[in-house]
């Protein structure tokens, strides 16, 4: 059997005695686009934080392509080929757009803690950075400080930093939160383009985006997955409708 790109095996997490994640089981296939939905406070961001080593898991195991990554440090998880974005924009505000992207490429391109390479002279590195900026549609903002970009541009850069370095598994946390319709379209198009051929997990509240983007959907309610399946299967699932989707879909219309 081919190992799943990402697998959570009965993962739990408690904060000072309260169980926030209660036995999370999730399997993400390779090259699929998987959406995780659920009401606020269901534990979606917490799950991301557990996978990426920001929090320690209380019990259970997490596997990346069959490799145990439970409780590794964030940088170790990244080095193993998993990269994430953040719900609240998390960029390098005092560096230019170009520097933001270039820094995100350094480890993946094997520069490690080098103090004997001059970044300006590294042709492949700079070309990759330029290419990503072009993909992000941020060419005109190349030398602008990331901190003064518009919100949508910062969200785009956030995705750029996440995908730079070619991680095979990408976790996006509410990439379109707080965006207008046209900005959402731009970001969704961008996500499609830059995650081509990769495994994508996306937490999202905008159901339009979710059903548009995802191959499969998992519904997370109170720290547990109550359903996983194709968009149609999930939409028709009774438990899902009761717990979450009914309300969410009504809100849309």
């Amino acid at each position: 059997m081919v190992a799943e790109a990402l697998k959570l095996d009965n993962v739990t997490k408690s904060f000072s005695g309260t169980e926030i994640i209660r036995g999370l089981n999730l399997g993400i296939n390779e090259n699929e686009r998987h959406a995780v939905i659920g009401p606020n406070g269901a534990g979606k961001s917490t799950a991301y934080n557990l996978i990426t080593g920001r929090y320690e898991v209380t019990s259970g195991k997490i596997f990346l392509k069959g490799q145990d990554i439970t409780n590794l440090q964030p940088y170790e998880v990244k080095r193993k080929g998993l990269s994430r974005s953040f719900q609240i924009t998390n960029i390098f505000p005092k560096m230019s757009v170009f520097e933001n992207v270039r820094c995100s490429l350094l480890w993946a391109m094997d520069y490690k803690y080098s103090f004997w390479h001059l970044v300006g002279k590294q042709k492949a590195l700079n070309e990759s950075a330029e290419k990503i900026i072009e993909d992000l549609n941020l060419k005109e903002r190349r030398d602008t400080l990331a901190g003064v970009l518009s919100y949508a541009e910062q969200r785009a850069l956030e995705i750029g930093i996440t995908i730079a370095g070619g991680s095979e598994v990408i976790l996006l946390d509410e990439p379109t939160a707080g965006m207008s319709v046209s900005e959402t379209e731009y970001i969704v198009g961008l996500i499609r383009k830059v995650t081509e051929g990769k495994t994508l997990v996306v937490v999202e509240h905008d159901m339009g985006v979710v059903f548009d983007l995802a191959d499969r959907i998992s519904v997370l309610v109170y720290g547990e997955i109550i359903a996983t399946g194709t968009p149609i299967e999930v939409k028709e699932n009774k438990a899902v409708q009761e717990a979450y989707l009914g309300a969410a879909l009504e809100e849309e219309h």
Partner: protein, 421 residues
């Protein structure tokens, strides 16, 4: 391995360095006095130290209260090596001594950094403070190595001559220091352009995100810390060569605060900031220090004002003017600036004279006359008191009134439709 570089270092990128080298060569022929060469030597040493400090504070976001430790330890070992060389137990030409100091600084930074860089912020600052106190205390206790309160001294001229130069005169030492200032500054600049130098900025800006792009923030800080220790050690050895003596004063908290002040006044956000700071601070210390006992007070006031009103430092103040310059509106600022210059100067002169007068009466009360700004007057008379108070008050009042105009002119000179600043 990363792909190979494609081009060699271009000539145009070397131009600023060649100019700097030229300036350094010409300086001792412009300022020929023995005193000025001594000051320039001191400036050179402070530049290397402040630049190395900025690798921590400006580039890496690490606030250290104990950076002088690495300079001091490098310096102490350098003096010992100087004495060993004098006894002809080892052969080492003087110009290579800074390398020894650098390696000592690097060595200690490697040890101390291994635990102090685990956390940034308050934890790092507190550990640096503790280490600073600890080493300073050791300095007094371990007399065999540090020589107690008198410190230890050496003789640089006893080293084997380098191409016939024995480094007897200050001018010869000047060129040695200038050489190392240039080399160190150049290397520190290159460091900012390396992967780890870039990541130091990233960790400073957003340590968490840096971890999510694959870098351990701790290791990034550690590498910067070691590099900063290396260059501080070089500064220490230069100090040893220039002054031929090192004492506890060179590595205690006072010395660490001095470098913090100098770097901050120059501007931590800019590569050139510490150079500006080192020059200005050393001049304040030496030139003004000769004129008045109160130089430390003035430095303190300048520091507080900088922190409050110009957190980007002097270099930041210059950099601010690039925008109106590019917009071609720098002319709009000349008039309001020159208008505020006169009352501003009157205020500063008044306040300084008043401070000096109070200090004089307080500490030299038996001397009836004092001289300020080449004018001698009687401190017992009411006239100087009145004049200084009026200067201060009137200067302050007019400066405040005109500050509104400056602010307005600044707004006009930098205003661009739709751009937030």
């Amino acid at each position: 391995m990363p792909s190979q570089t494609t081009s060699t270092i271009s000539f145009s990128s070397l131009v600023p360095w060649l100019i700097a080298a030229l300036v350094l060569c010409v300086m001792p022929f412009i300022f020929t006095g023995g005193g000025s060469i001594t000051i320039m030597n001191q400036i050179g040493i402070t530049i290397v130290l402040a630049m190395s400090y900025n690798m921590l504070l400006g580039q890496g976001g690490m606030l250290s209260f104990g950076h002088a430790v690495y300079m001091g330890l490098g310096g102490f070992v350098a003096v010992h090596v100087m004495n060993i060389v004098e006894n002809q137990e080892i052969w080492l030409p003087l110009p290579l001594l800074p390398l020894v100091g650098g390696l000592v600084g690097l060595g200690f930074a490697t040890i101390i950094g291994s635990f102090s860089t685990r956390k940034a912020g308050t934890v790092f600052a507190m550990i640096s403070l503790g280490i600073g106190e600890l080493i300073a205390a050791c300095c007094i206790i371990i007399t065999v190595f540090f020589g107690g309160e008198e410190g230890i001294s050496g003789d640089r001229t006893m080293a084997p001559p380098t191409f016939g130069v024995e480094f007897i005169t200050q001018k010869e030492v000047y060129f040695l220091i200038a050489f190392w200032v240039l080399i160190s500054t150049f290397l520190m600049y290159l460091f900012t352009q390396t992967p780890v130098g870039k990541m130091a900025n990233a960790v400073r800006d957003n340590p968490e995100r840096a971890e999510f792009v694959g870098y351990s923030m701790r290791w990034v800080r550690y590498v910067s810390f070691c590099a900063a220790g290396f260059f501080a050690g070089i500064a220490g050895a230069l100090f040893a060569i220039n002054f031929e003596i090192l004492t506890e004063q060179n590595l205690n908290l006072g010395a660490s605060f001095t470098v913090l002040l100098a770097t901050y006044i120059g501007g931590v956000g800019f590569f050139l900031g510490p150079i500006v700071g080192a020059i200005l601070f050393t001049l304040l210390q030496t030139v003004i220090g000769l004129q008045t006992d109160l130089w430390a007070l003035y430095t303190g006031v300048v520091f507080i004002l900088m922190v409050m009103f110009m957190p980007a430092g002097l270099t930041g103040l210059f950099a601010m003017h690039i925008i109106p310059w590019q917009l071609g509106r720098i002319g709009m600022l000349i008039k309001p600036y020159s208008k505020i210059f006169i009352p501003g100067t009157i205020f500063i002169v008044g306040a300084v004279c008043l401070t000096e007068l109070i200090n004089h009466v307080r500490h030299h009360g038996d001397e009836e006359f004092m001289t300020l700004f080449w004018v001698e007057f009687n401190t017992r008379s009411i006239v100087p008191w009145g004049v200084f108070i009026i200067f201060t008050a009137v200067g302050f009042w007019f400066s405040r009134a005109l500050a509104v105009e400056v602010k307005e002119a600044w707004g006009n000179a930098t205003f661009v439709e739709g751009v937030r600043r």
